[in-house]
């Protein structure tokens, strides 16, 4: 019996070791590709004058789609902030997704909205539109508000696509803070491309917790004080400065954040718009668009801008964070399942041979492997067969590599955007990197496991995402209002 347990123990350790080595090797590759891509990007932007498109009538038209559900507390301020973005050919479409609060009335009152017969040109199937509103005040001529029956984020975005009159759509979360020049930067890849069609472009999302926000604008970047938000700041460094940067280098990016992404409307419509059947509609759309282009052998690319363009409020309680990660896990599984034909399929090039398997083995399966490994270790330990020194050595190796990767992400941030200029902030980030494997990572793994279980139980919902909201804006007279 003892030798069987011993064999099991050694097998378990070897299996975990082999998986870890593959995973860590992929992280190394990600680090190298991220450095190369970041260097290329920094050299490129030194020749870029974004003001070129700010006032140019030749700049492509963009429609911002901002779905809103029960955002009454901040909707007026958020819309004001979006209306002030620097871009000439801009249309802002706020989609009120059947809010139960007074969001719509607030918009009507504040922006002097009137019902209009706006042409709905798109043909994506959606819940019915109750009304479309435009402002009577020419100052708000860019604004269009669509009131519709509740159907979820994907449905609201599809309504926005149907209503949008511009060739490019920018899908955002209405409660995010968008940098004033974000659209100028987003427009560039679409204008730059000559050989390949740019079908989508993603931007970096950063954590706004702790930052100074005034009147819907980011005034000062600060590191969050609470550990949970700080750990997510670090996590976003790893995801956006390393992960997506590397995948962008390989032109195999599978995910553009739902909080801020620009798309070629024609291709989005050709692909059928956002999918209602998944809670990971942002990833699913990108995968479907790429699949559409690959299957038709059309030259295309998906670009990525590493500049901080969008700031979002991260969950600051374990409860909300758990719901978010649970949903992300379900969204990833649903997307990978829907497009499983791509996995290891050479027809889809790098996407099928590299990107898809990476997501499957290292994004989706990693929490499961980790959790199973912990359970199996406990069982083997209970049976008295655990090789403790070997277990500790393996654990130490994996944890120290994780910390190394986080430190590398901090270094990338310091050497590039350096948003947290205070040395104390860098030290706090370093401390977070050391504590994260104990205080943050296990919870994320557990939430992913819960996501898997919920999916097996066929749970479909988003889960309530209560946010604290940014600091309340100072009351300000409405200077645009007609006398």
């Amino acid at each position: 019996m003892r030798s069987v347990v011993s064999i099991l123990s050694d097998g378990l350790m070897t299996g975990l070791w082999a998986y870890s080595i593959t995973l860590l090797s992929s992280y190394l590759a990600i680090g190298i590709f991220a450095i190369l891509e970041m260097r290329r990007y920094w050299r490129l932007i030194s020749f870029t004058d974004y003001s070129l498109v700010a006032g140019s009538p030749q700049a492509p038209g963009m429609s911002i789609l901002a779905p809103a559900y029960n955002e009454g507390a901040t909707i007026v301020e958020n819309v004001r902030s979006l209306l002030s973005l620097h871009y000439r050919n801009l249309e802002l479409i706020v989609i009120n997704d059947g809010s139960k609060d007074n969001s719509l009335q607030q918009l009507i009152d504040h922006y002097q909205l009137e019902r209009t017969d706006w042409p709905v040109t798109g043909s994506l199937a959606t819940k019915p539109i109750r009304g479309i509103y435009k402002s009577a005040n020419p100052v708000f001529h860019r604004l269009l508000v669509v009131d519709k029956e509740n159907g979820g984020k994907a449905d609201a975005l599809n309504v926005g696509i149907n209503v949008a009159s511009q060739p490019y759509i920018v899908c955002i979360d209405v409660d995010c803070i968008i940098e004033q020049d974000a659209l100028l930067k987003m427009a560039k890849p679409f204008l730059d491309s000559t050989g390949k069609r740019v079908i989508a472009s993603g931007g970096v999302v950063r954590i706004a917790n702790g930052c100074e926000i005034r009147n819907g604008r980011l005034v000062k970047v600060k590191l969050p004080n609470d550990f949970l938000a700080r750990a997510q700041t670090l996590e976003y460094f790893r995801a956006f400065l390393l992960g997506r940067m590397a995948w962008s280098r390989l032109d195999a990016l599978l995910l553009i954040s739902g909080a801020f992404g620009a798309f070629d409307k024609e291709i989005v419509i050709a692909c059928g718009g956002y999918n209602h059947a998944t809670v990971g509609e942002d990833m699913e759309l990108v995968v479907r668009m790429r699949r559409y282009m690959e299957e038709r052998r059309l030259p295309y690319t998906v670009t990525y801008i590493p500049d901080p363009l969008c700031w979002t409020e991260a969950p600051s309680s374990y409860k909300i964070l758990g719901r978010q990660r649970n949903r992300w896990t379900r969204g990833t599984i649903e997307t990978l399942r829907m497009h499983r034909i791509m996995c290891f399929n050479p027809r889809y090039g790098r996407l099928g041979l590299l990107s898809f398997p990476y997501w499957l083995f290292f994004e989706l399966l990693a929490p499961l492997v980790e959790f199973t490994g912990v359970l199996a270790t406990l069982v083997v330990a209970a049976l008295g067969g655990l090789n403790v020194p070997m277990f500790l050595a393996l654990l130490g190796f994996i944890v120290s590599f994780g910390i190394l990767f986080s430190f590398f992400a901090i270094l990338m941030e310091v050497m590039t955007y350096n948003q947290y200029k205070n040395t104390k902030d860098i030290l706090r980030l370093a401390l977070t990197a050391i504590l994260e494997p104990v205080l943050f990572h296990p919870f994320v793994v557990w939430s992913a496991i819960r996501g898997n279980i919920d999916l097996l139980r066929k749970k479909k919902g988003w889960g309530e995402m209560t946010r604290k909201g940014f600091a309340a804006p100072e009351p300000k007279p409405n200077i645009y209002a007609n006398p």
Partner: protein, 241 residues
């Protein structure tokens, strides 16, 4: 395996220590460079201000302070001054802008830009082109012109912009032989540069409307619209039909 794992962990920990040390050194070096650049900027701002206000005769030399000339022995200082002069030149026109060009020439900064132009690295070449164009170094036009069809997109677009910046509509002659695509972004860039130039498109516009390069045709169409020459475009369409 246990020993191997321990050795691996040790390597990772050593890498971690190395990374932390590198980060600290980097931060210290960056702070030192920032202090040094601030000091140089103070010297250069008075130098630039004097140049802007200068009203000397054609052959006279611009006044250069001792401190500034001492700093300029360092290549990094020269690069910083070039960057400051470019910022100034972008903001100023007329005699003030011309004085900045004169200062650039007098201090021999053109040699620095030419060194960049000869560099094998694309970003340095493109930077060289940009500097020479903004500092109106027309004697280098032949070298820049050759790059308007360069395989590297950034070098090519900077060279095209440089030629248009220096020669306005006449500079567009690179379109006659352009075989590479002209991106929408570059088209907007060229249109903006041309909007600041007096004159109208040359007689070559008809040829560009018939170019075998579709992006040149596209640009020519925009140019006709910009200069209200739609009649020419209509004629071309009729002829094509």
């Amino acid at each position: 395996m246990q020993a191997f794992l321990l050795r691996s962990m040790l390597v990772v920990l050593l890498l971690l220590v190395g990374l932390i040390a590198f980060m600290l050194l980097y931060l210290l070096r960056r702070a030192a460079l920032e202090r040094r650049n601030t000091r140089w900027r103070v010297h250069f701002s008075s130098l630039i201000q004097r140049a802007i206000d200068w009203e000397g005769a054609e052959g006279d030399r611009l006044p250069v302070t001792f401190r500034a000339s001492r700093s300029l022995k360092r290549p990094a200082a020269r690069q910083l001054l070039i960057a400051e002069l470019i910022t100034g030149k972008r903001a100023l026109s007329g005699s003030a802008g011309a004085n900045l060009v004169r200062l650039y020439s007098q201090l021999g900064l053109g040699a620095d830009s030419l060194r960049k132009l000869a560099s094998p690295a694309w970003h340095r070449q493109a930077q060289g082109v940009q500097e020479l164009a903004l500092m109106e170094q027309r004697n280098q036009v032949a070298r820049i012109y050759r790059l308007t069809n360069a395989p590297n997109e950034i070098i090519r677009t900077e060279a095209q912009a440089a030629i248009v910046q220096l020669y306005g509509f006449e500079g567009l002659r690179f379109l006659d032989v352009l075989v590479r695509p002209l991106s929408e972004w570059q088209q907007i860039h060229l249109l903006r540069l041309l909007s600041r130039t007096p004159g109208t498109p040359s007689g070559k516009l008809r040829e560009w409307l018939r170019s075998t390069n579709p992006t040149v045709r596209d640009f020519a169409r925009k140019l006709t619209a910009e200069h209200h020459l739609e009649d020419m475009l209509d004629e071309e369409i009729q002829q094509t039909e």
